[in-house]
């Protein structure tokens, strides 16, 4: 059942269009991640849903009622801010109880709700501490509890993990998912981190240049991207453009072609972009007998302990492919200058239609900077 | 919620969110205060300066140029105005090295007494200028502290006349204005990273060169702020010339006050004020061509 409904949401700042005609729907209890490079409009979208930014046009509806023109304080939407925005002069208790206090709840109700929240976030006994006495991870959890405590219709999270170190980020990811599952609250989670988006979202909205590129479940977004940007942004891959020859083969020019698995909505003659995902390509010294096979030369290798990254030039396609291989103690390494074979299964080849807009791609270097 | 209360809430929201309503409160109230109580009255000065001064302080709203003719008719008033600006300049030139030195000291010292020493300068800001000025009377007088000390040492045989002279007045002005230089300079110097100065020295700069090439340019914002305040306040000084200066040392502020409060000649006081105000305006304009006025004014709010 559709719960949150966003319709043609647009925001312009002067001449700049931050968000353009974004529409999507979220079901009750769903966890949706919004992902895209910085400046793609994801935070602006979130702020419009929260009521902190007024849309230039479009509507936002929750449970059927239009909330587009309501000020933030009249919407029942909890927000977890990137820098937490905990009130420094209030205790953990007062922070978490704030939303309830604003709604005129009595002391007893506040106490019960806060106790419940503290149990969920596993911070019992922290009532009287001040935010500056808590660690980064603890502050993060208090911020989540504060956004949840007043039982909001919807919770929005704006890159809540970006200020934490890598290890903590990992565990907070599971923690947040657990809390969401426990409370069952509909959640929209903004991030620029593709791994976070893929691992956390029931559905993913991919934004670029203020436009919604795709709204789908993680598998489809990853496997069947609807725009070259989506394929490029999620995962690391090498791109070759070509033309669909038959429903299951793409002509890459110069006599090269690649077998693909058939997908609906494509007809021979379509211009497509083909993506070879690093993690789906395998490498061998003997010519493999099945799948798509390309000849290449190892140019560089990057030893990372349990894993080795090979950089392989494929002269026939004029691309360089990066292949990650797990190696055991006994495996011998390939060396730079060696001729190798690379293989990828037709069903692992990702392709997408090129429309005029997306012909200019985001370079992998740029995408890497966003990480 | 009934639809009526809902509508009332909506109206309340709308009003609280109305850009103009909110602008009028903040920042509008402060701007209104300044515009109504400073800018509007300033326009009255223009009007009054063309009115005729009647007998016994009466103001006759008849257009006349007599006030300006009187002002520019003899050298008396132009000289007073010029002298005021000159005194402002001289005071600034004395305050600058002295105030800079102490500001620099406070900015660079690692003494544990630093908070106290800084506090002592801030305290100067709090003590009214009238007290800090008149306090020099028992010091500079013929039987004052300075003369007694000098007589006792034997440096002089008879007391010097320091009070009611130009030097006496300058001492009072300089000391009362020193904090306006010390604090902005301190604020600027204390933000200079010691490593930057050390870097200059490792690159071969002597102490003097390092100061000249690094510290001084980086403390420029503080100096600019100090100069602005010192000059404007000194040129418009009222208390120092009245309490410490001699009869020959007339400055524009006491003269205007005299004409206004003593002679009740409001139109002439208005004309004097206007000319003086315009000259301050010109100084400020010249100042803004070299420095940022807002930044300089911020200098004292440390």
């Amino acid at each position: 059942m559709t719960y949150l409904h966003i319709d043609n949401l647009t925001k312009r700042f002067g001449n700049l269009t931050a968000v353009q005609d974004v529409s999507f729907s979220v079901d009750e209890g769903e966890f949706v991640t919004v992902v895209g490079p910085s400046g793609c409009g994801k935070t602006t979208t979130l702020r419009m849903i929260a009521g902190l930014e007024e849309p230039t046009s479009g509507t936002i509806r929750i449970d059927g009622s239009d909330i587009t023109s309501l000020p933030a304080y009249r919407r029942d939407i909890g927000v977890v801010f990137q820098d937490y925005a905990l009130f420094p002069h209030k205790t953990v208790f007062e922070n978490i109880a704030f939303g309830l206090k604003m709604r005129g709840e009595d002391e007893q109700t506040q106490r019960e709700a806060v106790d419940e929240m503290l149990e969920i976030i596993d911070l019992e006994g922290y009532e009287d501490t001040y935010p500056h006495e808590c660690s980064g991870g603890e502050q993060q959890r208090v911020a989540v509890a504060r956004a949840l405590a007043f039982d909001p219709d919807l919770v929005l999270m704006d890159e809540p993990l970006s200020n934490l170190d890598k290890k903590l980020r990992q565990s907070m990811r599971t923690e947040l998912k657990r809390i969401q599952a426990e409370t069952g609250v509909t959640t929209i989670y903004v991030t620029h981190n593709q791994t976070e988006a893929l691992s956390m979202g029931d559905d993913i909205a991919v934004l670029n240049d203020g436009q919604l590129q795709q709204f789908d479940d993680p598998k489809r977004v990853y496997r069947e991207p609807e725009a070259p940007f989506v394929a490029d942004f999620l995962g690391q891959s090498s791109r070759v453009d070509g033309v669909l020859e038959t429903p299951s083969r793409v002509d890459l020019g110069d006599g090269n072609s690649v077998a693909i698995s058939e997908r609906d909505g494509f007809t021979p003659g379509d211009e497509v972009a083909v993506f070879l995902r690093n993690e789906l390509v395998s490498i061998a010294t003997e010519q493999p007998s099945t799948g798509n096979v390309f000849e290449g030369i190892v140019t560089e290798l990057d030893y990372q302990g349990g894993e080795v990254n090979y950089f392989v030039d494929v002269p026939s396609l004029d691309i360089s492919v990066q292949v990650s291989t797990v190696v055991s103690q006994t495996d011998s390494f390939l060396e730079a200058g060696m001729d190798v074979w690379m293989q990828i299964d037709p069903s692992d080849v990702i392709y997408t239609r090129i429309d005029d807009q997306s012909r200019t791609e985001v370079s992998p270097a740029e995408a890497a900077v966003e990480q | 919620m009934s639809s009526a209360t809902q509508r009332a809430t909506r109206v309340q929201d709308r009003l609280a969110d109305n850009r103009y309503v909110r602008f009028l409160l903040s920042p509008g109230l402060g701007l209104l205060w300044v515009l109504a109580l400073l800018f509007l009255p300033l326009t009255i000065i223009v009007l009054y300066s063309f009115y005729t001064a009647g007998e016994f302080g009466a103001i006759v709203p008849e257009f006349t140029l007599a006030n300006y003719q009187r002002l520019f008719g003899s050298s008396t008033y132009p000289v007073i105005i010029a002298k005021s600006f000159l005194i402002g300049l001289v005071t600034t030139l004395i305050v600058l090295p002295l105030g800079y030195t102490l500001g620099y000291f406070l900015g660079r010292t690692e003494s544990t007494w630093k908070p106290l020493l800084l506090g002592l300068v801030v305290v100067q800001f709090w003590v009214p200028i009238i007290i800090r000025t008149y306090a020099w009377i028992p010091i500079l007088g013929t039987e004052g502290v300075v003369n007694q000390a000098l007589l006792w040492i034997g440096l002089i045989n008879e007391p010097l006349s320091l009070l009611y002279t130009m030097p006496g007045m300058l001492v009072g002005l300089v000391v009362s204005l020193l904090p306006f230089m010390i604090l902005p300079v301190y604020a600027a110097v204390s933000t200079i990273d010691d490593d930057v100065i050390q870097a200059a020295k490792t690159l071969g700069a002597s102490d003097w060169r390092a100061f000249w090439e690094v510290t001084l340019p980086l403390s420029w914002p503080g100096i600019v702020s100090g100069i602005l305040f010192t000059f404007i306040i000194a040129a418009g000084a009222f208390l120092a010339p009245e309490l410490l200066g001699g009869p020959g040392e007339r400055m524009i502020a006491p003269v205007i006050a005299d004409v206004f409060l003593g002679d009740f000649n409001w139109p002439f006081a208005a004309a004097l004020s206007l000319v003086y105000f315009l000259l301050i305006g010109v100084s400020l304009y010249l100042f803004t061509r070299k420095a940022d006025l807002e930044e300089a004014l911020e200098g004292v709010s440390v």
């Binding site: 704030f98 709604r103 | 609280a16 205060w33 009255i44 009238i130 006050a257």
Partner: protein, 264 residues
Amino acid sequence: MTGQWNWRAVKLVSALVYVSMFVPLLVVVVNSFHPQRMASFPPSSLTLHWYGEFFADQMLLDAVWMSTKVGVATAICAGAVGTLSAMGFVRKQFPVKKGLVIVMLSPMLVPPVIVGLASTMFFTELGWERSILWLVTMHTLIALPYAFLIVRSRLFLFDESLEEAAQTLGADHLTTFREVTFPIISPAILTAMIISFVISFGEFTATQFWVSRETTTAPVVIYTMLETLITPKVNVLATLVLVITIAIPIAGMALQRWLASPTE
């Protein structure tokens, strides 16, 4: 080493500056205990005689009381108006903002003689008699830029997402200010109020245009006493003013320390 000598010279000049700033104040305080009418320094003995005379003089006590009342009222007005203005200037975008900041700060730039004279002409034209309200209104004008700058520099450091957080939690603008913004910036507002009090308490040059017989302030009385009858009571009054203008800010800062302690 030259560096050390340079530093010694800096210290010497600094010491001289301190001496020049504090010796006069010391002399005023000591002279208030001086037994003779015509003071020679240092006095041979000390007396509380002039304090006795001072506290018997209703006119002087009234002046100190008037200055205190005006100072407190100015602190409240300038604190409130300065805070509101600073909020607007930091948070809102509006045309010619840069120029309007200079308008806000202009009372610092216009010589006090002109501020005093222009407003007197203006109020007279409006038919407004000199009163304590007049004093408070104008002292607020003079203190406003300082209050504005102090609060504004605190607001520049203020994390606006705190206010947004409060709003998403259901606090309207007024509640957000009361619950979040005000408690956090209150130390700066207190500083602004203290400075406004001190400015009002000591202002003389413009104030001499604004006082009437009934609203004479302490600095004006000091000036009148210096111009007319030389009485050592002026030293007592000056000492008292000195103590008030130093003690109030120090007490205020202690209060501020105490207010700020939970978030420190």
